[in-house]
């Protein structure tokens, strides 16, 4: 295993937030089913059950909101990595939480704000919230802890942007490629990276370097393949040795074999295969499609009904994040008070324990014994 890969495997992006396509879709289905059952439980008391969003529709809405987020980021002149981090946060959050449970319009702001912080830019909440219509700092902050929980506290997102710079540097080093060609491929790949991987599931299925290569190959396929070929330059094992490896043969070629495994032709072919798969994913959402998600009649036709549907089927208890946050705080305060009361009660009225805190369980027996003892040090009245 190459040391670069070993180090990537240490990242939370690989350990917590990388899934095969099958895993990802099953997770989405599970999230959707869970949200449906929870929401229907809550809605039953009030009115008839509405029609719920399907996982596919949820994904479509998620893409819509991701693009909303990117637009907002553009509008606020946020750096590329902040925008990208915020988008990845949003997609990760709605992997384990349904869009029907928590309001995406609010989470989007929280994601943007938190993405800025994760990338080392610390705007003031008030000023940040002012940029949105009808938004206060409280709205932005309400979902922050929720978001952190949803992200499983993994705030480091590995992006392909710097990787692209590295690849371009490597391409320039080869020396026999025209500069203008590299530059144009560079800028095109950057455009793609700023949009396509963020509105697809590329970040879940591919590593930043593979995403970068896919984007580069969309811009200029030859250049991307050149990078891969130059990297995995080791000559392939001769067919005879590979087909019938005797013991001595293997021993002799152990070192060479290891080297070949790291940067040989087999690895190259596997990498190319993965890059092509990623390329197909990215090709579905080229940067030109950004405008296709809003404002055009087509997009309106797709998203309007979904939004209308969402309005009916969203979770009534959790839709208002500010209220939710306040309720949770009050609950926590109540709990604390209750704990305090319990402490006082034990010292104060001993008889009332059972009445106030319900039936005394076995756990309290000892304490009650201890507390009661000093009541009658000399026994009952004569």
């Amino acid at each position: 295993m190459a040391s670069e890969d070993a180090r990537y495997r240490q990242s939370t992006q690989y350990r917590l937030w990388s899934f095969s396509p099958a895993q990802l879709s099953s997770m989405r289905e599970k999230t959707n089913a869970l949200a449906q059952s929870n929401i229907s439980e809550r809605l039953l008391s009030t009115r008839a059950l509405p029609e719920f969003l399907t996982p596919a529709e949820e994904l479509q809405l998620l893409n819509f909101y991701t693009i909303d987020l990117l637009r907002a980021g553009n509008f606020f002149n946020l750096r590329t990595d902040m925008r990208a981090t915020a988008a990845v946060f949003l997609r990760r959050f709605y992997l384990t939480n349904s869009i029907m449970t928590y309001p995406p319009t609010d989470m989007l702001k929280t994601c943007l704000f938190f993405g800025c912080k994760a990338e080392g830019h610390y705007p003031s909440v008030g000023k940040f919230a002012e940029q949105f219509p009808n938004t206060t700092g409280e709205d932005v902050l309400a979902g922050e802890f929720l978001l952190c929980q949803g992200l499983r506290f993994a705030f480091d997102v590995k992006h392909p942007f710097r990787a692209l710079e590295g690849a371009i540097m490597e391409l320039r080093r080869y020396g026999n490629i025209e500069d203008s060609r590299i530059s144009s491929a560079h800028s095109r790949a950057r455009e793609i990276l700023k949009f396509s991987p963020l509105v697809t599931d590329a970040y879940f299925h591919y590593t930043p370097s593979q995403i970068m290569l896919a984007a580069l190959s969309l811009a200029d396929q030859e250049l991307a393949e050149r990078v891969v070929h130059e990297t995995f330059h080791h000559p392939a094992l001769s067919d005879g040795a590979a087909a019938a490896p005797t013991r001595e043969n293997r021993k002799g070629a152990a070192a060479a074999g290891e080297r070949a495994r790291l940067v040989g032709a087999e690895m190259r072919d596997r990498v190319l295969e993965v890059v092509n798969a990623c390329r197909e994913v990215l090709a579905k959402e080229p940067p030109e499609r950004m405008t296709a998600y809003w404002g055009t009649p087509d997009s309106n036709q797709i998203t309007r009904p979904l939004l209308r549907k969402l309005k009916k089927c969203h979770d009534p208890d959790r839709w208002n994040l500010v209220e939710l946050q306040r309720a949770r705080r009050e609950q926590a305060a109540l709990k604390e008070d209750a704990e305090d009361d319990e402490g006082n009660g034990a010292r104060g009225s001993l008889d009332g324990d059972g009445a106030v805190f319900g039936d005394a369980d076995g756990r309290d027996v000892k304490r009650r014994k201890v507390a009661k003892a000093p009541e009658d040090p000399f026994g009952g009245p004569l």
Binding site: P21, R162, S209, G257, D269, R270
Partner: protein
């Protein structure tokens, strides 16, 4: 024994035959029992004894009686034949002690085993007890002539039988003594060198101080730019003090080469635990790139400005950091196949899955390139 006795022998040993010391007391400290000369008459009077019978007599008597060859001991009743050569001055005032020490020395020369020669400490202790018994018989069995004879015979027999062993042990003992002696000498020499060195340095320093003072005074006397000159001198004064330090180190090394500085009485150091190499904060992670080579400079249209911009470089920014990060980002995880790895849950797929996968791939693509790789992994798994 070349050392002179601190006092003249006070006790004379009356002797039954065979040189067994009796309890005869001498009448006077300073009178030769043979010629009755007293110290008053001869200030340089010196008493000598012969280990055959330990009867003291003055050196004049020895010269007089034994110059012409072996002669009988002049003491009444002592029939030992003594030679001039055997006489020496006694180390101890009490001649019984002198005799015991001599015997013990002789026994120790024969029974010269050390603890290392024995299997257990108990064996060694038994041996010591045995030797002590024999010594005791030799020394104190004055009345019992038989026991003494027997012990003597034992001793001689042992000596005859174990000549080689004794010789070897003696040699080992001598060598140990020799090394100890040499070490002591080396230590003493090193200490002497250090003292000399320190004295020399002190002297140099003193001379330097005197010289600089004189120079300063001269400068002041000349009176041109006096204050400035003085300041300058003061500044320079600090330096020569620091300069001799390496020289002193060198001297210390020289003495160290002659005899290492060591502290006596220290036990031999225990062997240090097997070293596991230096501490690795990255827990064995290799940061050496496999897929790319980091170079000192990469061509980049927008980075070159940063590389030379003092606004960045002054703060410690090095554009190579960026190179390293960018190249690492570009190539790290290139060979991580999330789809496969997350499905199978392992980095290297299990043999069966690999086989299935390989069969599927072969059926799909019938590609000759993929097949060998998969077969190779299967080989690895079963290796």
């Amino acid at each position: 024994m070349s050392r002179k006795p601190a006092v003249a022998p006070r006790a004379s040993i009356g002797g039954g035959g065979g040189g067994v010391p009796g309890a005869l007391a001498i009448s006077s400290d300073d009178m030769c029992p043979v010629c009755k000369t007293i110290r008053y008459l001869n200030k340089d009077m010196e008493f000598l004894i012969n280990p055959e019978c330990y009867h003291p007599m003055c050196s004049n008597c020895v010269n007089r009686l034994f110059n012409d060859g072996p002669n009988q001991c002049p003491y009444a009743g002592c029939h030992q034949t003594l030679r001039r050569k055997g006489f020496r001055s006694a180390f101890f005032g009490d001649l019984t002690v002198e005799r015991e020490v001599d015997i013990r020395r002789r026994v120790a020369a024969v029974f010269n085993q050390v603890e290392d020669d024995f299997e257990t400490l108990g064996d060694y202790n038994d041996y010591l007890q045995q030797v002590e018994d024999l010594t005791f018989d030799l020394v104190f069995s004055g009345a019992d002539e038989g026991r003494r004879r027997k012990a003597e015979a034992n001793l001689q027999q042992w000596e005859a039988e174990h000549k080689a062993d004794i010789e070897r042990n003696k040699k080992a003992g001598r060598e140990a003594d020799e090394t100890a002696r040499r070490r002591l000498a080396a230590e003493r020499e090193a200490a002497r060198q250090r003292r000399l060195e320190a004295a020399r340095e002190a002297e140099e320093e003193r001379l330097e101080r005197v010289r600089s003072n004189e120079e300063a005074l001269d400068q002041l006397a000349k009176g041109d730019g006096a204050a400035k000159v003085q300041l300058k001198r003061r500044g320079q004064q600090g330096r020569p003090v620091a300069a001799p330090a390496p020289e002193a180190d060198g001297a210390a090394e020289v003495t160290g080469a002659a005899g290492r500085l060591s502290i006596r009485g220290l036990k031999e150091k225990k062997r240090a635990p097997e070293s596991t190499g230096p501490y690795d904060p990255f827990a064995g992670y290799d940061f050496h790139p496999d897929r790319y080579k980091l170079r000192d400079a990469f061509a980049s249209d927008w980075l070159d400005g940063f590389a030379r911009d003092p606004k960045h470089s002054t703060g410690g920014y090095d554009v190579r950091e960026y190179y390293a990060r960018a190249m690492f980002d570009a190539f790290s995880g290139m060979g991580v196949f999330i789809g496969d790895e997350k499905e199978t849950g392992s980095l290297d797929m299990s043999a069966r899955e690999v086989a299935d996968f390989g069969a599927g791939m072969a059926a799909e693509q019938s590609g000759p390139v993929v097949a060998p790789s998969i077969r190779m992994e299967v080989d690895d798994v079963f290796a």
